[in-house]
Each structure stands twice: as C-alpha cells, then as structure tokens.
Amino acid sequence: MARSTRTLLVGLAVVGAGILLAALRVNPYVYFAGYVILQYVVIATAWNILGGYAGYVNFGTPAFFALGAYTAVFLIQSTRAPLPVLILAGGLVSGLLGLGIGYLTLRLRGVFFSIATLALSIVLQTMIINWEYVGGSRGLSVIRPSGPPFGSYVTFLFAVMVLLSVVAVTVARFIERSWVGRGLAALRDNEEAAECMGVPTLRLKLFATTVSGVLLGVAGAPFPYYVTFVEPTSAFNLDYAVNALAMPMIGGTTSWVGPVIGAVLLGTAQQLATVTISSEMNLFIVGVVLVAFVVLAPEGIVGLVRRVRGR
C-alpha cells in the first residue's frame, strides 16, 4: 500500500515538475526538443511492454504511432475535437489494432511475428495514402487551436507529453511488478512451458499487445498538432520502428527504467546531432551506438549498472 502511494506521489511530482517547467517559459526550444524526447519515452516504454516483457518484437511501431496520429487528423478534420478526445481516440483505435495483432501471436512467433507487423505497417500506409480525406499522399496542414495554456501551444503539448509519459511509465511499472509481468516473463522464456504451468498465455499476450498499442497510439495523437503538417512518409517513418527497438535495447529491456533511460539518452543525442553535427551523422550515431551496445553491453545500461554493483 505504502509503495503504491509512493509511486503515485513520485508520478505526481514529475507531472508537477513538468507543468512548472512549462509555466516557467524557459527557452522555447527546450519544449520542442523535450516533446520529441518524451514522445520517445512513451514509444519506447510502450514497445517494451510487448518486446521486452513478452519477447514479441514489434516492427510495426510506425503503424500504431501513425494510426494514433491519423485518428487525430480525422477527428480534427471532421469535428475539431479537443486534444484529450484526440488522445483517447488515438489510443483506442491503436489499441484495437494491438488486439488484432495479439490474435496473430496465436500462430506467429519470433521473427515471423516481427515480419507480420512490418507488413501491417506497409498495408496501413498504403490505405492512408489512398485516403484523400486525411490528406492522402499529399499530406495535410493542421491548424492549431488558438489560446492554449502556457502561452504557446507547443509548451502546452510538452506538458501533455510529460503527463503521458508518466502514465506510460507507471503502467509499465505496474505490469512489471504484478503477476501479469511475471506471466509475460515466463512466456518470454518459454511459451510452451508457461502454457503447461497454467499461465493464461493468450490472455496475457492480448493484454500486452493491446496496452502497447494504446500507448503507441496515445503517443501519436498529439503529433499532428506538434508538426502542424502530417503526411504518410514522415508519420510512418522507419525511424520510429528503429528507435522503439533501439532505445529499450540501450537502456535495458527487463525493467521499466531501461526504455526511459534509452529514450532520454538516444533521443537527446539525436536532438543534439540534428542541430550540431547535422548531416548524416544522426543515423550513423544510432548505428554505431546500437552495434556497440548489443555487442558490449547486451543487458543495456540497467544491466551494466547491475553488473558493476556486483549483483
């Protein structure tokens, strides 16, 4: 009981700090860069629920993310719905897709599952390209609502993202600590054995894919208001798939802290690379860091810290 209270308090503190930061109106660039990094915190955490805990590698991250974004675009176009509605709807639609791929896991495991999610991403992108109402292949400019709190809309989005990442991390932490997490870990290590021992594998997998889908959709829903221009190539960018995979890998996949550390480190590095070295170095960094980490520190930073501590 005490522990959950403490979690709640820490979560609230982080949200409070975020809002405070937003209210301070420091250099606006902080909010822009911070938004992107936090967005990756949510994405990496969401991916890790399925990929890290359950061991199902999702290559279709862009599909879920873009589905959240395009659900938002659709609602903006049709009803100009407010942001909370967009986020809920984005999460809902993506969650349904997650449930769908959850049933795929009935038949597909390992790399087959990964490839199916990749294919799913391509099919979905083609559908969006051919759907003129949300901009089709030409893309669509989205006009932000006027009069947001904190002076500028991006600052507001930043505060929203702080909240969303706290929610995502809390959910991940909860899953990890509960019997669900232990069940998922069991089926990651050996699905047949887990099944035999009475772990309800299908229900657990469906749960993991759905939650992961919801969170990815939630991460994507504010995206249209952030970029103000949505087009399929950038919304379905392969970078999301790679980063979603790379960040938890670098941080460590077995614990909820891993994706957060990975997202903050890699996200910050990428943001800095974009505005300093520019050029191709951004991708190069990701490549080298990835190879270096999986070769030298296979358990990620979390694993590294544990090893140093001699555990």
Binding site: V14, N27, S137, Y226, V227, F229, T233, S234, T274
Partner: protein
C-alpha cells in the same frame, strides 16, 4: 525506503535533469556583429539530391555578399541544420534557430513538405519567410509575409502542366486523348490535379488516370496499360526513380504518343541526363533553367554557374546545377536586396518591401504577387533534342534542352510528334 530504490528514483530525477540541461546548455552567447540567416535543409533523405545543391547556392551567395562587404556593413553568416527531409524535424530546428541561435532572418528548407510545418511558426512570430520551392503552401493560410521563389505563379497547381497542355493544343493535327499517371506523393498528386483541370479546359479526353506507389520496381506493366489506350498525349508526374523507370519502360514497350513527358522530376539532374542519354530525345518536360541563350541573358547567372560548377565536385552535388541552384541563389539575392534597400532587419518592413518591389536576379525579374507566389508564372517547358551518347559536356551548351514555353523565353521549335524526335 530501501537504499536501492532511492537510488533508482534519484536516477529518474537525474534523467529529467539531464533533459532540461540538454535544452538549456546550448550556447546563449550572442554574436552581435554578423547578420545570421537560419534554415533547415534536406541534406539527407529523399530530397537531399536537391537540398545539397541548394545549400551550395546559398553559400555562394553568402561568399559573394561578404566579398562586397556584407549586408548593412555587417558580414553574413549562415546557420543551417539537416532536416533529414522529415517534416517532423522542422518545428524543432526553427525554434532552435530563432530562440537559441537568435538568427536575424530565416528562409525555408527545400520542398513543399518541409515548408508546410514552418508556416504556423512563421505566423505565430510574425516572421517574413522566404520559401524555396513549395507548391501552394500559402493557399490555406494566406499569410501575407510569405514569399516563394519557384516560378509557379498565382495558380501553383496548374503551373507544372500548363505549358505542356498549351503546347499540345497548338499542334496539328490536334491531339485528342490523354493518359495521365503519377506517383503517390505530394508533388505528383498536385501536378495531376492541375493536369485534370487543364484537360477539362482544353477539351481533351482522358483515357487513363492512375497513380502508383513510389517504391514500384517495374514500370512496364503501367506503360503497357497506357499503350493499350493509344493516348495521343501522355502526361507523367513522377519523382526521379520513377521518371527513369517510366522513360526506360516507354522505350522498351514502344510507347508512341504524339507528345510525352510533362512533370517528370529528375530528368533535369545531371546524373540522370548523363545516364539516360539519347533516351531523353523528344521528351517534353517542365524545367526551371536551361543553358539556352534566352536564359543566359540574365545578369550574374554566368558568374554564378561558373562558381557553382567549380565548387560542385568538392561539395559532392550535381555538377551542372541548372535546375534548382539559380533559384536558391535568387532567393537569398532577393532577401539581401530587401535588407539593403530598407536598411533594416525589421520583419514587417522587409515584407512590405518584398511585396512592393520588382527584383533583378540571376533568374530574371522577380515580382511577388498573390499568396507570395510569382505574380506571373514562368515554369518552362523544354524538349530534349539531338542528345548523342552520354557525355556531360553536350549539356553545358544550348540546343539539347530547347525552351518551348513560355513564348518570351522560347529558344527553338518543338519537334512533333514525339516519334520524330525520338531516335
């Protein structure tokens, strides 16, 4: 609380702190002296083949200006970042430019998709913004302080195709049927919308109207389907890989329309021209610049191209630089002239001046009109003629890319029908 858990929370706190520092830690020292011009540019990703030459053109302008003593007596400095051809990076880049680097002026990156996310930022901060090759970016916003250098004119959507269809309508015997095809991407789709409008206007009959995904590998099935319709006019709106694919397939399948081409991006690139060689002959395609006497008449263009070609190899960009670079240069030229004339970096004063003045640039006289587009469109239609082999030097001189449209820049006559010029 167990010590271990405390440590973990401390870690979280540290992480958030690092995040804040990452943003704040950027240099805040402000160089008062130089005039800083900021932009994002596609140096990697899909549009980088154009973005890099555009960057070189802007750099040449900077050197030229600084050689003459700078603007308002202050040297010019460029601050630019790679937008990776990804619109999602644009808001971050420009906020960094404006709030951390404190640039005095901003120009856009290359291409419609990279300008679109910049518009709201410019409007929010009431900036004067120069757009580099954006198609109809301002139609939705109608922001008065936006100026765009691509000579698309007041009706951007039909600008690519207008010359093509006007030429087609003038030929005897007049062609009747049209096939249009294009990639599922931003530019081709816009061009197709314009083409449909023009087809209606000129009273042609559409017999084929399809789009394809940009990652298509084999174009022969598409070309074969077009051939089966026996269309007189074939209008293609494509990006470089598909332009090459379509052209090759057209030769392989033996497509023989009366007039062929239109909106094929990529044929203008030197690397493509020197690979396709004689296969280009007869194609009537849009362009922005060709080494024809009518285009070389503009002041400063020869000097610019000489400088560009000298520096191109080292920069690893298109060796001739005929397509986009003169316009990129003209864009900053216009901006520089406005700064000089108003003796000011005040965004509103600059915009008022830009709106009211006719500028003399390396691409001719530029006057901005409705929505910040050129008051009068000037997208060229050129025809590739008498290309022999794949040598690069033949493309340096006139006669290979003959300007057919518009009338005042015309440098030669069209060879019609397509098959007569093809061999």
């Amino acid at each position: 609380m167990k010590p271990q858990r405390i440590r973990r929370w401390a870690l979280t706190g540290g992480v958030i702190g690092a995040l804040v520092l990452a943003g704040l830690g950027a240099p805040t020292a402000r160089a008062a002296e130089p005039i800083r011009i900021g932009f994002g540019m596609a140096l990697t990703g899909g549009l980088s083949a154009n973005g890099k030459p555009a960057l070189l053109a802007v750099q040449i302008w900077k050197d030229d200006v600084n050689k003459r003593g700078g603007l308002l007596g202050r040297p010019v400095e460029l601050v630019y970042y790679d937008d990776q051809t990804n619109p999602a990076t644009v808001p971050g880049i420009y906020t960094k430019l404006l709030d951390v680097d404190k640039v005095d002026l901003v120009i856009s990156g290359y291409g419609t998709n990279l300008i679109a996310p910049l518009m709201p930022i410019a409007m929010e901060r009431k900036l004067t913004i120069m757009g580099m090759f954006g198609l109809a970016n301002n139609e939705k916003y109608q922001y008065p302080n936006y100026f765009q250098i691509q000579p698309a004119g007041p009706d951007p959507q039909t600008s690519t195709a207008i010359g093509f269809f006007e030429l087609a309508a003038k030929q005897t015997p007049r062609p009747q049927t049209v096939a249009i095809v294009g990639a599922d991407a931003e530019y081709p789709q816009n061009a197709l919308v314009g083409a449909r409008e023009l087809i209606k206007k000129f009273g042609f009959k559409t017999v084929y109207d399809r789009t394809y995904p940009p990652s298509t590998v084999d174009y022969t099935p598409i070309v074969r389907a077009i051939k089966a319709t026996n269309a007189d006019i074939v209008f293609v709106a494509s990006y470089p890989p598909d332009s090459v694919g379509m052209l090759r397939a057209a030769h392989e399948v033996g497509l023989q329309p009366k007039i062929f081409g239109g909106g094929m991006v990529g044929l203008q690139f030197t690397s493509v021209m020197t690979s396709m060689g004689p296969m280009l002959n007869g194609v009537v395609n849009y362009d922005f610049w060709a080494p024809e006497p009518t285009m070389l008449a503009f002041p400063g263009i020869k000097e610019f191209l000489k400088e560009y070609q000298a520096r191109a190899e080292k920069a690893g960009v298109d060796p001739l630089g005929y397509y986009l670079p003169p316009y990129s240069y003209a864009l900053v030229q216009v901006l520089g002239q406005a700064v000089e004339a108003t003796k000011s970096l005040d965004q509103q004063k600059l915009a008022d001046y830009l709106r009211a003045t006719e500028f003399n640039t390396v691409v001719g006289k530029v006057k901005f009109g409705k929505n910040g587009e050129w008051a009068k469109g000037r997208t060229l239609m050129v025809q590739y003629q008498k290309v022999h082999g794949t040598g690069i030097d033949q493309f340096r001189g006139p006669g290979k890319k003959v300007v057919l449209y518009p009338e005042e820049l015309k440098s030669g006559a069209i060879v019609y029908p397509y098959s007569a010029a093809k061999n």
